[in-house]
Amino acid sequence: MADSAQDDDGVTRRDFFNVAAVAASVVGAGLAAWPLINSMNPAADVLALSSTEIDLTPIEVGQSITVVWRGKPVFIRRRTEAEIEQARADDKASLPDQELDADRVQNPEWLVMVGICTHLGCIPLGQKAGEPRGDFGGWFCPCHGSHYDTSGRIRRGPAPRNLEIPEYIFLDDTTIRIG
């Protein structure tokens, strides 16, 4: 290497080629790894899962049903007057994830939410009569003790966010489409 061109700092052309070659190899390895990493993302057929339409007529006031959308449970609750009142009153309570009840429903009578606890993904209890509904009259997650209110908002426990509201529209007064 004695004959290679050398500048004042003792850096040779060969040093530059070494650094450039290593850098190019790292970039190349990264590019080659991407298709492998990306192959683990949801496949096209999974993404294409259609939306779900639900007929609401059989649901009585104060009753809840659970439907499956994209492999996840969706809670649909026809709330009683008292529950709606309570949810609105709680707008002023101290909420870990501030949100108005009015922003969580399209029609106050119908609460539609993804029934998955925002903590670690368990299904909260409170859908069936007789199940514990937590200290705020909504839902209670038995896994790590998160309490949700009558608007599905987190009130106490480790969950960071309110129960998620999926995209849905009312096709008519008694039918909704989720997704």
Binding site: M40, V68, R70, G71, H119, L120, G145
Partner: protein, 411 residues
Amino acid sequence: MAGAPNREYKNSLVRWIEYRLPIFSLLDHTIGRDYPTPKNLNYWWSLGAVLTIALIIQIITGIFLAMYYVPTAEGAFDSVERIMRDVNSGWMIRYIHSNGAALFFAAVYIHILRGMYYGSYKRPRELLWFIGIIIFILMMATAFMGYVLPWGQMSFWAATVITNLFSAIPWVGDSITIWLWGGFSVGSATLQRFYSLHYVLPFVIFGATIVHIWAIHVHGPNNPKGISVKGPQDTIPYHPYFTTKYMVVFGIFFIALAFLVFYEPNYLNHSDQFKRANPLVTPANIVPEWYFLPFYAILRSIPDKLMGVVAFGGSLMILFILPWVDTSRVRSGAFRPVFKQFFWIFVADVILLGYIGSQPPAGALLIIGRLATVYYFAHFIIILPLVGWMERPKPLPESIAEPVLKGEGGQ
């Protein structure tokens, strides 16, 4: 792997092979006649060999289970039931695999605690300790994914809860979780990738084990006195002395395994595992396998999701700083009267966390769990550095050989 010079082998075939590929001298230097070992090693030093055997049992039984297992959400549960009922000896192979995993963890916990008591992580064995922690984390990942494969209720919900830990990462958490799942919830795609990884990770563990053993041989194993080997008078060959001594522990291991497999095969199992996975019903109380309970208790004791996950990861990662937070220059706990007491309090704390992890998170237990979590971290961050500075250790013996030759025994 230094030691005695290569011996001349008597058997001519062995000599022929040795000349071309020195595999016999490699074995002799690694676990045989030419591996000089501190003469005072006690039974707690057998766990490394026990763990190697446990890993091999898991790999062999796993290979045969894989011949019948169907890794799809539709087929997994039924294929496991078929292994249990119809496949010849299938029940035994599966029970050895599932109970073998439990004993594997029992052995690794004793192995880790032995290292903590005798200061095996201290200079110059820090990297040996690091490789061990990496193996432990790989074991946890492998065991977790293996637990998901039967696709029972606990499988499904364990997978859901643990993969959801990643959703706590700010900004990218949800994308990472969907990427891990290969869908919008735990499903067939998740099960199949877990199967793929559950098959390959044990071989990664095997490779890491070889590096672990390599690292042991650079400076030789630590020993109950925690003082370095000073010469040949301090050592005896690994074979036949320790190979035979450790046979006793191998026997205990196999008796325990046989007892579980043939008398209490489901003692460590959960009744919800006999139900098919149902994505719409969460079991009333999700409980992980016993060997994850202390860490699970730490996760649950923190009321904030992100901080809970950080504490959960931190409770493992903190093992990496052990060589530096332990400020004492004395390795072995046998000569550290104050450390010794705190060591056993720490063990009690971990057992307490394990109990709390098995109970529903409410009331007084929640408070106790939080205190126990604080103590867990305080042991590393506060107690160990202070004890190292303030404690007055007992005088160390001159050499390993000295007390042995005086007839004081190898306590």
